[in-house]
């Protein structure tokens, strides 16, 4: 554990530089929060203009304090900060929060100040949160070293926000929803301490059982994935990542580029790290409530209890839609429920305890359902009806929730009428939501983490076989270097691309370059008809657009005519294009096979992303794809395949024989090997790769360098 970070969250003493009695200042807000919310450590206000602030002794400088200081919080103007950091470092203080703004985010001048701070920080081996942040809150010791004026409940959820603006709102909601935080951090513009550092720290602080994140961007992707995955191996992280529809900065040169937008790659990265991503602020709050009160369900089987049919059906709709399962009631449960419920009860899950159910009937039924091993969690719905008892029912449920360890979720439907019941539930650690859907969301999100973690472990526990590949990289490295040096094209031509793929045991249609119509006809006769002819020119990447592809040529005469036609088309398409010749390859009948795309896209943040999905004409129509980061072994390859719709076809369909998935996994693993071997390559499209039974063949491919 980094003790310098620990001192930020658990300081025995805090100096606040810029402490003030003027209410409009941040220094006032921070000092006031430290003084009034129950923090029991030493507090040292630093303000050269005052001898006392709120009756506390004030110090002209940090150096003047002459006592051990664990944490310094700085809330003075940007230009004062570099000297302050130097002063703190000099005093041996290694833990600092810089709340002040006016650094890199405002441009050149601010950046200069920030660089000075960074130099001092490195010199003294310090850790800094901020600048331009709200600060941190550790409710366990009533420490509010921030200018957000609320103290949330103490609990087991860690929260890290990249948006300062959201922090006050989230604190407000958290208190309303009884969400207990282990630590609450606004990280600001992160000159030093990043998500990764905090998540590493939370892994070891013995009180953080889950983390929720508000992410705008990740600066250190590798550290992020490492820290996150270390945490998520045992405990969940949920994150919202905004900016889903931001447009890419440049148009993609390949299908793969179009399929793997930057947000898609973000999604793949978060997933690989074990994070469950949510898309609404509300979802983050909702799942945080359940995380703070309940354990992660062991499975997806939910038993729903309700006093009204309609909301029960609504809950089932939501459950099925989100991939949960309606638990079967065991024989014993059925029998036991028959004894405590009126004869008209639903005799099924959802268990309808009927509209006239009072607290005692709920209690008996819930008790029985808790014991049923056929479910992994309970969801209790309460609708206000003539005879129903919101508060006593809440009390019964709370009692049972403590007795059993099984996760429970509730929806006390309504507002004022059920408010007291809801308060009772929340204060007893029973999550409660005004409508059934968010309760189902919380349950399925928590189970979603469990399931994701299970899948990741399958992949991580598999050794990375290299499939006995011994590719000869050298000629291709030289080729790429040469093409780059010549500067005429930024891609490998089809012959080169296919040779490279073959080197990695990815089968292709053998392609030969013909330099005259007669030559083409001769090649065709050797490889057998029908054949396909394609233009080869360093200026022409998209051959079809240039009229540079002719299919199904069946005779030498057709081949010769096609050659001439292609050359003519290419001239018309780009009169300056150098025509190197026309390639000849066997025409493969893909009917009965499944067209796939396998591709590579280099993402500016996350690096190599492998794309797999429906290929051919379906690529853009279906957008049926899955994205996977490296490393990629057979287990991850299989998971990637299974995420697509085309997986259904690959399994064999309506009597058609399925594809050899083991073989396809190997192709993906080999492809990933190629990608890791060639950092020079920017994008690859293999489209289509046709899978037919136990064989696959790449009919077309391009490599962008």
């Amino acid at each position: 554990m980094d003790l310098r970070i620990d001192k930020i969250f658990n300081p025995k003493s805090v100096a606040i530089v810029g402490a003030s009695e003027r209410q409009e200042t941040v220094g006032y807000a921070v000092l006031n929060n430290l003084l009034t919310m129950g923090y029991e450590g030493q507090i040292y206000p630093v303000n050269p203009k005052r001898a006392q602030i709120f009756g506390c002794q004030a110090y002209p400088s940090v150096s003047a304090i002459k006592a051990e200081i664990d944490l310094v919080v700085i809330a003075t103007p940007a230009h004062t900060v570099p000297n302050l950091i130097e002063e703190c470092g000099n005093l041996g203080i290694q833990s600092v929060i810089i709340i002040s703004s006016g650094f890199a985010e405002i441009g050149e001048d601010g950046l200069k100040l920030q660089n000075q701070i960074e130099q001092a920080r490195q010199k003294y081996n310090m850790r800094i949160i901020g600048p331009n942040c709200l600060g941190v809150i550790n409710p366990g010791i009533k420490l509010n070293a921030s200018f957000a004026g609320k103290m949330p409940y103490s609990g087991k959820v860690g929260f890290i926000s990249q948006s300062g603006a959201l922090c006050t709102s989230i604190l407000d909601w958290a208190i309303m929803h009884h969400i207990g935080f282990s630590n609450f951090v606004s990280i600001g513009s992160t000159m030093d301490i990043e998500f990764a550092d905090l998540i590493d720290y939370f892994s070891e602080d013995h009180k953080t059982e889950s983390i929720i994140l508000y992410v705008e961007s990740i600066k250190k992707p590798e550290e992020f994935i490492k820290a996150v995955r270390k945490f998520t191996k045992n405990k969940p992280i949920f994150a919202i990542k905004s900016g889903r529809f931001e447009e890419g900065s440049k148009a993609a040169a390949s299908h793969t580029g179009a399929l793997a937008g930057s947000d898609d790659v973000y999604a793949a990265a978060l997933e690989r790290a074990g994070i469950v991503r949510v898309h609404k602020v509300e979802d983050l709050i909702n799942v945080a409530q359940s995380l703070s009160m309940q354990e992660i369900p062991k499975g997806n089987r939910l038993c729903i209890l309700t006093n009204a049919g309609g909301p029960g059906v609504i809950a089932v709709d939501a459950l099925i839609e989100r991939g949960g399962a309606l638990a079967n009631l065991s024989e014993e449960t059925n029998t036991a429920l028959n004894e405590v419920l009126p004869p008209f009860w639903s005799h099924n899950n959802p268990v309808d305890v009927l509209g006239d159910a009072q607290a005692d009937r709920y209690e008996k039924a819930v008790d029985i359902c808790f014991k049923d091993e056929n479910n992994d969690a309970l969801m209790i719905i309460f609708t206000p009806q003539a005879m129903s008892e919101p508060v006593p029912t809440a009390r019964s449920i709370s009692r049972l929730a403590k007795k059993y360890k099984k996760p429970i979720f509730t929806s006390w439907m309504g507002a004022d009428y059920v408010a007291e019941g809801v308060r009772l539930l929340l204060s007893n650690g029973v999550p409660s939501y005004p409508t059934p859907e968010p309760a189902i969301d919380a349950f399925t999100l928590m189970h979603g983490y469990q399931e994701l973690n299970r899948q990741l472990k399958l992949g991580e526990n598999q050794t990375n076989e290299i499939n006995n590949l011994k590719p000869d990289l050298k000629p291709y490295k030289q080729l790429i270097q040469q093409i780059k040096a010549e500067g005429k094209r930024n891609f490998l031509n089809e012959v080169e691309t296919k040779a490279l793929l073959e080197e990695y045991k990815i089968p292709t249609t053998k392609t030969q370059l013909a330099t005259s119509p007669e030559h083409a006809a001769q090649i065709a006769e050797t490889i057998g008809f029908p054949v396909v002819l394609k233009i080869q020119s360093p200026q022409i990447l998209h051959k079809t657009d240039a009229g540079g592809v002719i299919l199904s040529l069946k005779t030498p005469q057709q081949v010769k005519e096609a050659y001439a036609k292609i050359v003519q088309n290419a001239h018309e398409y780009d009169s300056k294009a150098t025509i190197e010749g026309v390639t000849v390859q066997k025409m493969i009948n893909s009917s009965g096979g499944t067209e796939l795309i396998i591709g590579l896209k280099k993402d500016p943040v996350w690096g190599a992303a492998i794309v797999f999905g429906s290929g051919g004409v379906n690529v853009e129509l279906l957008q049926d794809k899955a994205i996977c980061l490296l490393p990629l072994n057979k287990a991850f390859a299989r998971q990637t395949i299974e995420k697509t719709k085309v997986y259904k076809l690959l399994q064999g369909y309506r009597g058609q024989v399925g594809a050899d998935l083991d073989y396809l996994e190997n192709i993906l693993v080999n492809f990933a090997q190629l990608v890791s071997d060639f950092d020079e390559i920017e994008e690859i499209d293999i489209n289509p790769l046709v899978m037919k039974g136990s064989e696959g063949i790449a009919l077309d491919a391009r490599v962008i360098i």
Copy 2:
């Protein structure tokens, strides 16, 4: 307007049968609600055991009242109700609410009582809400003729719920969210007054500007669609329909059956009626709030104003995801904003007024954005920050919302901290949500209604051309009758099916029946190679499963061998099957064409549903389909086509020539004509219909009768 229904909502006098002082009774609750919530009409408690209730004179019977009674509310046990209805009818009272339960829903005995009530109702020409309902509330006259103990705000939203259990919750939420209702109705088990009757009434009550529905099932589908569409031509209806994942009662015999589950057809029906369907209770409440306070936006262009970047991006994500558009700021708006905002403002939409914005800056910026004609609505985001002013900002926004007619939505993010500001906004008719997403939901749902209505009008305003079809129905009607009489099969064979399609100018591959291998070879030589052979047997519907289809036969010898093989396969598949022969048809090369499915499914509630979508192997893989009810003209056909993903392919794709959509529309219209002509037909699959340029041809088809 049905004045009998009007008397239920606007009675000058109400008798309440079963009125009581005993708090646990429904009669107490209803009477108490009538007496204490401000209703100014006459109230007559009826209770034979009491002379006075709460100081009011009580009457032994309705007959004893001896005054004009507009509405009778009945809350006595089921067995007393038939006589009461008879008594009311006899007195000339035509408007009744039956709150009591214990009728059809409990079985035989209850049904008998209900039938007696129905006889009396018809005899006296009465209108009845219920039984087994909560009653009705008309906040405009403070009438609460229900046992739900709350009075919502008066307003312009009508609410009809089929679930009584949800009513109290919804009232509770409605009050919290300041949703103003024109009328609030719990319809119970609807022995007489149904959704359709109420929607018809709301069309004419001059105060209902929108309706929200909670639907579990529709009893009178035709009346429902008629009443709803009359309303939605001018004003929106939003509905939640639960039971989305209920399993169909019987397995589907056709692809079409599998594609058009009962919920899919419900969705198509609601859409055709002009209803926007929502899937969460929360969505219904959220949109109701905006409906009750704002006009429907004229378009989908939203201008977002925020004091923090993060929530602005979140709002944009939600907007784009839900099909809204980010408005461009006009030149003048940009210039004007430059004058009132600090230089660092975003210079774009979302308009970031920056974290230190106080009420005055918000007011100036919002004023400018309201004037911009490039947007159709505003969304204002407020996050609590150090200097921000939740209440004064709410006051400024409220003022501007009144000045301009343009719709406005807000998110005051937080709970306690912003509560007072939110109250101020709501009480000034400005919708406000705790997070940005539900505000975006409300905006996009309201615009969604506008867009749906526009599309429906396009369809409705088009005359139904019959495409000069003069089909000869008679032979097919006779054929179907004959097949049914024989009872050997429940489908038309391929030859019959294709003949029927041709009758409706839907081109098919001509198919002839061969009764021997030699006969098949002879037919093949006449129509030309390659050909396809398929088994014909009254016992075999799924020919492929039986090994009964062989493709691509190129010589007479191959045809003869295939004939023998098919007959052998069929015998092995079903040794008892009668083999009538093997059909021969031309093999059509569908490559380069687009495979479609066109089908019919008879839904038990909504009748004929036409399915259109991706065909061939893609049918179940993609589930890419659109469902359309009758009547179907070219405009509706086009809209149906445009809803599918395959539409992208049909438009022409990557240089491939597109399909003739006009031609395809005609095929759909003709198909619909066939469907209306043959009530005897249960299901039809045309799969695939291959579209290539300006031609389409049905390669395979089946008709289930």
